[in-house]
Symmetry: C2
Subunit: 344 residues, 2 copies
Amino acid sequence: MAKRAPSNRIGISDVAAKAGVSLATVSRVMNGNQSVDPKIAARVQSAAAELKYQPNPIGRNLARGKTETIGVVVPDLGNPTFQTVLRGVSRAAAQDGYRVLIADSSEVSSEEAILAGEARRRCDGVVLCAPRMSAAELEELAPSLQPMVLVNRTTNVPNSPSVMIDYGKGIQDLAGHLADLGHTRIAYVAGPASSASNALRLVGLEKFSRTHPHIEVVHLRNGSTFEDGYESANDVLSSGATGILAFNDLTAMGLLSSLNERGIRVPEDISVTGFDDIPFARYTTPPLTTAAAPIMEAGEQAWAQMRELLFGNAITEAVRVFEPHIVVRGSTGVPHGKDSTAES
Amino acid sequence: MAKRAPSNRIGISDVAAKAGVSLATVSRVMNGNQSVDPKIAARVQSAAAELKYQPNPIGRNLARGKTETIGVVVPDLGNPTFQTVLRGVSRAAAQDGYRVLIADSSEVSSEEAILAGEARRRCDGVVLCAPRMSAAELEELAPSLQPMVLVNRTTNVPNSPSVMIDYGKGIQDLAGHLADLGHTRIAYVAGPASSASNALRLVGLEKFSRTHPHIEVVHLRNGSTFEDGYESANDVLSSGATGILAFNDLTAMGLLSSLNERGIRVPEDISVTGFDDIPFARYTTPPLTTAAAPIMEAGEQAWAQMRELLFGNAITEAVRVFEPHIVVRGSTGVPHGKDSTAES
DNA sequence: ATTTATTGAGAAAGCGTTTTCTCAATCTGT
DNA sequence: ACAGATTGAGAAAACGCTTTCTCAATAAAT
């Protein structure tokens, strides 16, 4: 791009001309550099104001070698979890004057690495949500993405902090809640096998079983949608469990719906819990006991980690863990036959 | 930024050196310029590949005067509507190799104009969702934002296309559906007064009343949340209407919940409709009759409009309107006393 | 075989800033 | 008053590319 187009946009040189100073001085004034005579500074300021001069960020980016923008890579912008992470990151970053570029791989995981790389080149750093990416691929990719922070997974690549939701702890707490109520046979209606957060729940249940040997935990395969939950009813009933841990709120609602149609009372006959505390969880009949994951906070912390990487002195190597907190509503209660809560 | 930091990142000059050609040639090869000897091109390609050279988009942006990025300004990233618009824009733009920078004003409407301007300077164009901005302010802002496309509002500033959801048509169709079922007294439980889409619904109802003079339409003030819907039950019942048009699915669900508690049967005693067709609308009891707004399509079309502005030959001045389509489920039926549908 | 058209690649001028370098002018201390 | 320390502003180099300009080397035409 050479001498074409007289570039109507007004630039730093226009201001310099109007104020009768050099480009360098204008730049200094615009950046609040102190080493400039207040008188001249004022002259530049007013010239800039009169011309409504706005520095061109692109030129600035090149000169400074940074964009004040970070990329957020998500596998699916339609997924409420990632929407919320995105929102948390965006809000927190905005506080520090940073913007967010989105890279939605639309579930095409083969594109993920490329997309992340492109985003990284345009930005000062990347927040990566890539639950399905293999550990090996991540390990290879991570160094080229730094500064990078991971969401809901970790890697042992140096200088790659993470924020995590402790799904294992959440499911443990829910199981504990059912145990406290007196349930002795609990069923976990699992999510998709490929889901990383499902794996974390399984680890949590493992731990639960070890600390509660007298409680039977049966595992049922299932999915993550309302329909999956609906269709799990047969398995649930034949499992003989009185307390059901659904994979998430959606499947819990599906299950609730099916149980309701069959005339099975919740929580009198069967207790049901969800996970996530989506907005509608409180409006089901009965309102759903669930574990609320502080996803937005996680997003905000992802920015905090990124900020550490960008301007931090200390070498951050942290994994910040967020624990879901359970919210008890009407879908859980004392199992049939018992008539008093048994607090542990 | 002068001679500091030997800039470890490999650049175009490294490739040029390795391939034994000039920078210009490397650039030409990287951009698929035909006027380069295939032999040399191959040499450059392999040099680039060996060095894993990736062009720096920032330098490229400056040289080309464009970023292949568009900004999407939304008033609240937590609002499902804007999330969906964002997703639609992002997906469609990605098809053409464009990325999206998000600018969330977090409901601070005083910041909206500034944010939009900043986004514009970093991007090649802006998709603006600013339902609350005054027409005057928009008119003043619009020229400085172009190329710009508006979502769910219009302006008479030249070259400022829009995509719109026709909320008026949607509510008319829902009212028409109730009329067809035989309802003669219909209540509209309005949304927030400040809401632009509420205003559009009112206009639609106006039109409906004109074409259906024999049907009474009463207006009730209300809000946009589940709770608002729940609390509207008294007004609804005392209105004497048998068909209720709730502002949206959320308020409809609140109303449904309250009616259910009072033992009022839906749709036998009262028919209820929502608006939006949120994912849970199909899972209420009874499943909710509602109007589905094709928001994601609108987002996709917003990109289509933007593309026209960016590379289009014709001067686009279009307003693209998307009509909601009603989806009839179990929450509407023939009013008490009638026993057959009366098709119009 | 000589002139003209064509292809192809290098040199260099941007793109709009920031920042280093440089040097004149003003200030300090004695 | 004079050498040395400061302050302050302009000139120019960078940032990493793209693209025009220019010109040598071929191919085509007479």
